[in-house]
C-alpha cells in the first residue's frame, strides 16, 4: 500500500520524526511556530508557507519563533549546533540569504577546516528556491550555484516527496552544515512516501527515467519539466535518461558519466541564471571526464541572464521549461 503525500508534507513528516527521535533537535525561523504569544490561536503559521505547522503543538519550545533578523538567528543556529544542539533553521526564501550570508560562507562552512577538523556543526538551513509563483525578483531566485561553490556546505534540492523526506532526514543526521533547498513550486505535488523514517544518502543521483539517446541532467523544479520533455520526446522516438542530481554538493558525477558514456549526448538544465551555474558545472565536468564519449556538443538549458520578472507572461518566458529542454535535445540530436 503506497501512501501519497505532498512534498511539503513529506518535509513536515521528516522534521516531525527527527524531532521525536532527537530530544536536542531544535527548529527555528520566522513564524515557524507561528502565532505563539500573540494572544490568539497558536501554531497557525508554520513558516510562511506552513511547512512546520503542527510541530509547535507537538514539541513546544523546541520550535522557536525568531525575530526577522537572519544574521542573528542563523548564526545562533550555527553556534547552538556547535554547542551540541542540532538545529533546523529556516530562511524563508533563498533570496534572503544575502542578509545572513557571512554566517554560512565564513562561519558554518569554514569552521571545521579552520579549526583543524575539530568542529561539528549539525545544522540544516531550510530555504525555498525557484520561480513560478509570481514572486518577482526578490522571491524567486535559485542561487544554488553560489552555495555549491562554497567548500564546507552540502547543498540539497529534492524534486519528489519521497526524496524530500529521505534527504531531509539525512541532512538532519549529517554532522556538518547542509543548505536544504525546497522548490516551492513543487510543494503541492504528491507522490508515494513511506511512513517510517528513512534516509537517502547524499551524493547519489537518481535515474528518474531511462533511455539511451541523450542524458538530461538536472535537479529540483526542473526535474518534472525534464520528465515531461522526455515523455514527449519518446513519442518522436527519442529516449532520454533523466538524471535527478538530488544533491548538488556532494555531486554524483559517476552516475552522470555512466549515462553520458551510454548516450553520448548531454543536456544539463538549471532554472538558475546561466553564468557559473549548475548546468555549466555539469557540462564542464562531463566534457573533461568523458570527452571521447560525446557525440555532439553538450547543451545547456538555463534561465536568461536577467532578474526574475514579475509579469506572469514574462515569468513564464523566463522559466526554462519542457519546451526548452526539447529544443536542446533536438539541437543535440541533429
Amino acid at each position: 500500500m503506497t501512501r501519497h503525500v505532498s512534498l511539503k508534507s513529506a518535509i513536515n513528516e521528516a522534521l516531525d520524526q527527527e524531532m521525536a527521535r532527537d530530544p536536542k533537535l531544535l527548529i527555528f525561523g520566522q513564524d515557524t511556530a507561528g502565532g505563539v504569544d500573540a494572544g490568539g490561536e497558536t501554531d497557525t503559521w508554520g513558516g510562511v508557507l506552513g511547512v512546520t505547522r503542527g510541530l509547535y503543538t507537538r514539541y513546544g519550545d523546541r520550535v522557536i519563533d525568531a525575530p526577522p533578523t537572519e544574521m542573528a538567528y542563523v548564526g545562533a543556529a550555527v553556534g547552538a549546533a556547535l554547542s551540541g544542539f542540532p538545529v533546523v533553521a529556516e530562511v524563508p526564501f533563498i533570496d534572503f540569504m544575502g542578509v545572513c550570508f557571512d554566517q554560512l560562507l565564513n562561519q558554518a562552512a569554514k569552521m571545521r577546516y579552520m579549526f583543524g577538523g575539530t568542529a561539528e556543526i549539525p545544522l540544516v538551513v531550510r530555504t525555498m528556491v525557484g520561480a513560478g509563483i509570481n514572486g518577482a525578483a526578490q522571491h524567486s531566485q535559485m542561487l544554488t550555484a553560489m552555495f555549491t561553490h562554497i567548500p564546507g556546505l552540502k547543498v540539497v534540492c529534492p524534486s519528489t516527496p519521497h526524496d524530500a523526506k529521505g534527504l531531509m532526514i539525512e541532512a538532519i543526521r549529517d554532522r556538518g552544515p547542509v543548505i536544504f533547498c525546497e522548490p516551492k513550486y513543487l510543494y503541492e505535488t504528491t507522490g508515494p512516501v513511506a511512513e517510517a523514517p528513512y534516509a537517502i544518502p547524499f551524493g547519489q543521483a537518481h535515474l528518474a527515467r531511462e533511455g539511451h539517446d541523450v542524458s538530461i541532467v538536472t535537479y529540483g523544479p526542473m526535474v518534472p519539466r525534464a520528465l515531461e520533455a522526455a515523455t514527449q520526446l519518446a513519442e518522436t522516438g527519442i529516449e532520454a535518461d533523466v538524471i535527478d542530481l538530488r544533491t548538488l554538493s556532494p555531486l554524483d558525477i559517476a552516475t552522470v558519466l555512466k549515462s553520458v558514456q551510454k548516450t553520448g549526448r548531454l543536456v544539463a538544465a538549471d532554472e538558475a541564471h546561466p553564468r557559473c551555474n549548475m548546468a555549466t558545472d555539469i557540462v564542464a565536468q562531463v566534457t573533461r571526464q568523458c570527452f571521447t564519449s560525446l557525440k555532439a556538443a553538450p547543451q545547456m538549458v538555463s534561465a536568461p541572464h536577467t532578474p526574475v520578472p514579475f509579469s506572469p507572461v514574462l515569468e513564464k518566458a523566463y522559466i526554462p521549461g519542457a519546451e526548452q529542454i526539447m529544443a536542446a535535445v533536438t539541437r543535440i540530436m541533429a
Partner: protein, 324 residues
C-alpha cells in the same frame, strides 16, 4: 511630545491628505476583493489601516525629498504621489505599469517622485535611504529622506547599522517605525527587545517621538517638527507611529493568531480614516466628493489594468544593464 485633535492645518492640505488616505484605503480594499476573486497575480501586503502614517508624513515632502519603502508599500507610494493608474497596472503586471510590469507590488518605484522603491527584503531600504540622505546633505538644499519600516523589520541589521551611520554622518534621515504590533504572525514583543523606541533611538544617538499613528494630526505635527529639524541640519530622527493592520500579513492570512475580536475591533474602533473624517472639520459634502472621485479612480485603474496588454516577450531581456 504627543499631538492629537484638530490643528491649524490649511484646508487644502486637509483635503489633499484625505484624498490620499481615502485613495489608499479604496485601492487596498479593492485589491483585497480582487485577490479573493483570483484576478491579481503573485502575493501582496495591504496597507489598509495605516493610511494616516504614510500621508501624515509625506504631506511634508516634495518630489525632491526621497522615501524608501517596504514590502507593504502601496500606501507610501500613493502618499508620495505615484500615479495610481500606473500602480494598479504594475500590480497586475501589465504594460503601462509604473515598472513596465516587471516589478509588481513589492517593487513599485518612481524615482521622479522621490520614491526609491518598495522592497521585498526587510530592512533593505534603510541603507539606500542613508545614501539618498547623504546626497541631500551634500547638495545642501535642505532635502531630506524618510525610510519606513515595520515593528519586525526595523530589527534587521541593515536598519540598525543605518541608524548608526545616519547618526555618525549626521544625515537628514527620518526612520519611521510603523508599529502595527505584528511581524507576520509574531507579536512585537517577540521580535523587539525594547518597548520604547525612544530608548532604541537614543542607543544610536538620535531623538525619537512616539505618536498615535491612528491620529493623522498627531503624525502630521510630529513629522512636521522632525522634518523641519532635519532640513535645518539637525541630523537623523526616529518617529514611531502606533498603528494597526486591518488585513492579514498578506492576502490569504486568516489572522487567527490575533486575539478574538481584535480585527473586528480594529475596523470598528481604530479606523484612522473615520477618525480623520470626524475631526478634520471637512464637511460631509467635501468628503463625499472625494470618496466619489477616488472610487471612480480606483475602478478605472482596475478596468484599465485588466484591459492593458501584457508586456511584450522581448521586454524580458531589457533593462538589466544601462546601454549607451
Amino acid at each position: 511630545m504627543q499631538h492629537t485633535g484638530k490643528t491649524d492645518i490649511s484646508h487644502d492640505i486637509l483635503l489633499s491628505a484625505y484624498r490620499r488616505m481615502k485613495t489608499i484605503r479604496t485601492f487596498e480594499n479593492r485589491l483585497h476583493e480582487d485577490f479573493k476573486a483570483g484576478i491579481v497575480p503573485g502575493f501582496t501586503h495591504l496597507y489598509a489601516g495605516q493610511e494616516s502614517v504614510a500621508v501624515g508624513i509625506c504631506s511634508h515632502l516634495t518630489d525632491q525629498d526621497q522615501i524608501a519603502s517596504t514590502h507593504r508599500g502601496h500606501g507610501h507610494c500613493i502618499a508620495k504621489g505615484v500615479d495610481v493608474m500606473a500602480m494598479m497596472k504594475e500590480i497586475h503586471g501589465r504594460q503601462g505599469g509604473i515598472c513596465k510590469g516587471k516589478g509588481g507590488s513589492m517593487h513599485i518605484a518612481d524615482l521622479s517622485k522621490g520614491m526609491l522603491g518598495a522592497n521585498g527584503i526587510l530592512g533593505a531600504g534603510a541603507p539606500l535611504a542613508c545614501g539618498a540622505a547623504l546626497a541631500d546633505r551634500l547638495e545642501g538644499k535642505g532635502h531630506v529622506a524618510v525610510v519606513f519600516g515595520g515593528d519586525g523589520g526595523v530589527n534587521e541589521g541593515a536598519v540598525l547599522e543605518s541608524m548608526n551611520l545616519a547618526s555618525v554622518w549626521k544625515l537628514p534621515l527620518m526612520f519611521v517605525v510603523e508599529n502595527n504590533g505584528y511581524a507576520q504572525s509574531t507579536p512585537q514583543h517577540r521580535t523587539t527587545s525594547v518597548s520604547s523606541y525612544e530608548d532604541r533611538a537614543r542607543g544610536f544617538g538620535m531623538p525619537a517621538v512616539t505618536v498615535d499613528g491612528l491620529d493623522f494630526f498627531a503624525v502630521y505635527r510630529a513629522a512636521g517638527e522632525l522634518i523641519a529639524r532635519m532640513r535645518a541640519g539637525g541630523g537623523p530622527v526616529l518617529l514611531e507611529c502606533r498603528t494597526v493592520r486591518f488585513y492579514g500579513h498578506f492576502e490569504g492570512d486568516t489572522q487567527r493568531y490575533r486575539p478574538a475580536g481584535d480585527v473586528k475591533n480594529a475596523w470598528e474602533e481604530r479606523d484612522c480614516l473615520r477618525r480623520f473624517a470626524q475631526t478634520s472639520g471637512l464637511s460631509p459634502a467635501e468628503l463625499e466628493a472625494v470618496d466619489r472621485d477616488v472610487e471612480q479612480l480606483v475602478n478605472a485603474s482596475v478596468q484599465e489594468a485588466l484591459k492593458a496588454p501584457h508586456p511584450a516577450l522581448n521586454e524580458l531581456h531589457d533593462g538589466v544593464y544601462v546601454s549607451y
